[in-house]
């Protein structure tokens, strides 16, 4: 082998830059020898790495980053960890997206809106529904039994004149059963969904005749005002899911390498706890992936109008039971943190590469 040619400092620096593709710990252990090999293979007189060399080194570095320890179950463990953290990432992403939504309108604003929608001042009751994490809170105003004539086209025009973007009116004929006489009467429902300045309103007017002979219909109005879904929710959800997948895979690989060099009696309980954590989180994980994928599928399909586009649950609701975090999910997350803590706390035996045998041993 050619020894002693003048080494190009430029080439050396360029190779070293390529080696940044490798994880730091690996670079510290193997960087110098890889650099030697690259320099020796290059021979004298070269100034820059060839495209093939650059590709090979960068690909090698990336492979090293995503590499898992040898072992039958390692791939499965990495996949499950990736899916678990991916679901969690999608949920966190969706919650972050929703946290940028408009604050819900005040009761006074909802009152004005109700009057506008009904076509005149009306007595109404306002209710607030508790919502998970304080996101997507909605205010409901109900107007019971008004007999003034109400027309969907006029309501639509009034809303549009006030700057609302109004979806086409949906009209359905249903039936209602009266409480006092227990008879079934026909009922017409008009539904209007409209948006303005980050607020969505969902208006339903149900009209019926209490007695078939009544001249005027009686109407029951229901107006729900809620923050509109910010455009960022879906992209941040998907980005969170991808980041979670990546982080889960890397975490499993790292933890795997650490635990590989510990004794079985240290490793076994950590593995058991990790499985328990993933099982506790499994229902939420599956639901979060389902919701994220469904949201992506809906966005890819034809645009939804009216009531169909409202109230699709976001990925974070997978970790919510009622309005507070699900206790299974909380237990699973806490256990997960303990598992990571334990695997950092155990002292692995030093890597084999540092225990260099004597030559010819």
């Amino acid at each position: 082998m050619t020894a002693g040619w003048p080494m190009s400092a430029v080439l050396r620096r360029r190779y070293r830059r390529l080696l940044l593709a490798y994880p730091r710990a690996y670079r510290r252990r193997h960087g110098p020898e890889i650099l030697t090999t690259l320099m020796e293979a290059a021979g004298p007189g070269r100034e820059r790495p060839t495209a093939a060399e650059a590709r090979d080194v960068v690909a090698g570095g990336l492979r090293q980053r995503f590499r898992l320890p040898v072992g039958r179950l390692m791939m499965l463990a990495a996949l499950l960890t990736a899916l678990t953290l991916g679901g969690l990432g999608a949920a966190v992403g969706s919650a972050i997206g929703w946290s940028t939504a408009q604050r819900p309108p005040t009761d006074a604003a909802v009152g004005e809106l109700t009057d506008l929608a009904m076509g005149g001042p009306n007595r109404h009751d306002t209710q607030h529904q508790p919502e998970a994490l304080g996101l997507r809170s909605q205010t409901t105003a109900t107007v019971a039994g008004f007999t003034t004539a109400w027309s969907p086209t006029q309501a639509r025009s009034r809303l549009e004149a006030a700057g609302w973007r109004v979806d086409p009116v949906e009209t359905v004929q249903t039936e209602a059963t009266t409480v006092d006489t227990n008879t079934t009467i026909p009922m017409g429902t008009n539904n209007i969904v409209a948006d303005r300045d980050g607020i969505t309103l969902d208006l339903s007017i149900m009209a019926y005749r209490v007695n078939p002979s009544d001249q005027h219909e009686t109407s029951y109005g229901l107006l729900m005002a809620m923050p509109s879904e910010p455009a960022s929710v879906l992209p941040v959800t998907l980005a969170g899911g991808l980041l979670g997948l990546l982080a889960g895979w890397l975490l499993a690989g790292r933890t795997g390498y650490r635990l590989r060099r510990t004794g079985t009696w240290q490793r076994a309980p950590i593995n058991v706890l990790a499985v328990a954590a993933m099982l506790l989180l499994a229902p939420s994980t599956l639901d979060a992936w389902y919701l994220a994928v469904r949201a992506a599928a809906v966005a890819a399909g034809p645009e939804l109008v009216g009531g169909d586009r409202l109230r699709a649950p976001s990925a974070y609701t997978a970790y919510i039971h009622d309005v507070s975090p699900s206790s299974f999910a909380v237990a699973g997350l806490m256990l997960g943190v303990i598992v990571v803590g334990l695997s950092i706390a155990v002292r692995p035996r030093p890597a084999r590469i540092h225990l260099l045998g004597k030559p010819g041993q």
């Binding site: 020894a3 690996y26 020898e33 890889i34 030697t36 090999t37 690259l38 570095g61 040898v70 260099l356």
Partner: protein
């Protein structure tokens, strides 16, 4: 053990006769394969890392040459065993293939009893 990938097989073969360092291995693998397999450094060190992890090879020694670090690797007993097993397997498959091809070359002798000679 499942079938070995070709670079792995060639690296183990190159180390069978004695310890070698990175560039030496690249040259030896290229020579062994008649120039068919030219390993890049990224591919080589990925394979070496795996082999060390599987205890098939081990770091033999470090040498400093002109301020450069050369690390030599050598085969472990386990690695020699794995290489021998793989070589047997390949030989068996290769001779089976050669035998079948000979029969094909003589259409009339498909049912010949020991009539085929080298």
């Amino acid at each position: 053990m499942t079938a070995m990938r070709e670079p792995t097989f060639l690296i183990l073969t190159a180390l069978a006769a004695g310890s070698r360092h990175g560039y030496g291995l690249i040259q030896e693998v290229s020579a062994l394969s008649g120039g068919d397999v030219v390993l890049g450094a990224g591919t080589l060190y990925g394979a070496l890392d795996r082999l060390v992890e599987q205890d098939l090879i081990i770091v033999d020694r470090d040498e400093a040459v002109d301020g450069r670090l050369r690390r030599y690797y050598r085969l472990t007993d386990q690695g020699a065993g794995a290489l021998a097993t793989e070589a047997d397997r390949l030989q068996r498959n290769a001779s089976a293939a050669v035998n079948r091809l000979r029969r094909r070359a003589q259409p009339g002798s498909a049912l010949a009893f020991g009539g085929v000679t080298a």
